[in-house]
Subunit: 226 residues, 2 copies
């Protein structure tokens, strides 16, 4: 008798998936855009959060009908960072996020974090969850293309030495689900980033849970025997 | 030959439907709740916006597992008002909202605004859109029950002297769509409050548009001959 197929690895997005930061990022982007004279309704910013900055700027160009210069893009990013820092003291872990990661660590289930944020944001997020360098992380600075390209999740699976086809991507946005499909991983959605259940399902989510706490309660549905 | 059935009247929600205020309300509620020691993930607040305050407090009780006293509820509402006032300078009309209302007025299509907000909020919103008392408004203070009860929309139809069955409710939340169904009006959803298209469809929206500008472009789909 063989040993059977291995347990799947879990590859987690960070913002909106483990920490409750999406809405703060959204309003920080609104303030940054407004300071640059760009008037975009907030829901459109929400639906672009989590995609790569380059694609976000292209989407902006389409919505506003004007191309942004490299200088404007750099200024926007700086203004967003400053605006987000003002919001950041209110940002909290999502319910069950810490407990979920502790449980997975305790049971020896391989997992990593793959975020479109940079190294600093990733570290701040993990610290908020009570973890440090013991959690493998792939951040924006470590890959050429961010989501919905699959690069972040491919790199995270490599870091764990697990085939991507045996991995489950957990994220709150359709960009996570699209990246999961392109990577040939399984996608699992969380409602905690503010997308609707059906949006995530239509983007390929095999299951959708409310928050990390709800996922922790249903690990059996992902075939994780803990 | 008869004159045919009359044109439908349009009954508009305000926040998230005509003005881009939902995300600011969401973070104002988060700050108010946190100041009262209530830790609720932001997406759950988002999905409760637009329902009556009484139901919102009940939902809070379920999510947090504790009942709020009347005193706590009053403090919460006061803190929310203060937090929203800090956000309010950034709030803008939604794209096309002003043009849509101007077009309807110009063509003589009956319409009104029906909002879960109080009289002051309703007036501030309309002023932002460039209108005053020429627009019929039903606000929270004028009915016994707010959404998803149908009272606000029923009162708005009465104000216009149009049967509710000949009215179209335009809103961004499932509470608007549920109130429309309960009132036996037709519901039309807008994505500008941050709900997903399918959430609104499943709650009964006959059509879903992006924003007021998109609705203005498709008035023919609602049978409005302008």
């Amino acid at each position: 008798m063989s040993d059977g197929t291995p347990w799947p690895a879990l590859l987690f997005d960070l913002d909106g998936t483990l920490i409750d930061s999406v809405y703060s990022h959204v309003l920080a982007w609104r303030d940054a855009l407004e300071a640059c004279g760009i008037d975009l309704p907030v829901w459109r910013i929400h639906r672009s959060i989590g995609m790569s900055g380059g694609l976000f700027v292209r989407a902006l160009g389409r919505e506003t009908g004007r191309e942004l210069s490299g200088e404007e893009v750099a200024k926007l990013q700086q203004l967003h960072t400053e605006a987000y820092e003002r919001q950041a003291p209110q940002v909290r872990p999502l319910p069950g996020a810490r407990e979920l990661l502790e449980r997975l660590r305790g049971e020896g289930v391989p997992f990593a974090v793959a975020t479109s944020g940079n190294a600093v944001n990733a570290r701040v997020g993990l610290t908020m969850l009570g973890f440090g360098s013991e959690i493998p992380v792939v951040n924006r600075d470590m890959v050429t293309y961010a989501k919905p390209n699959p690069d972040l999740f491919l790199a995270a699976a490599r870091l764990l030495d697990v085939p991507i086809e045996l991995s489950i991507v957990v994220g709150d946005s359709i960009w996570d689900m699209l990246a999961a499909q392109r990577a040939r991983a399984l996608g699992v959605g969380l409602l905690s980033g503010g997308y609707g259940r059906e949006e995530l399902q239509l983007a390929g989510a095999y299951r959708v849970y409310d928050e990390p706490a709800d996922l922790l309660d249903h690990l059996d549905e992902l075939g994780i025997r803990v």
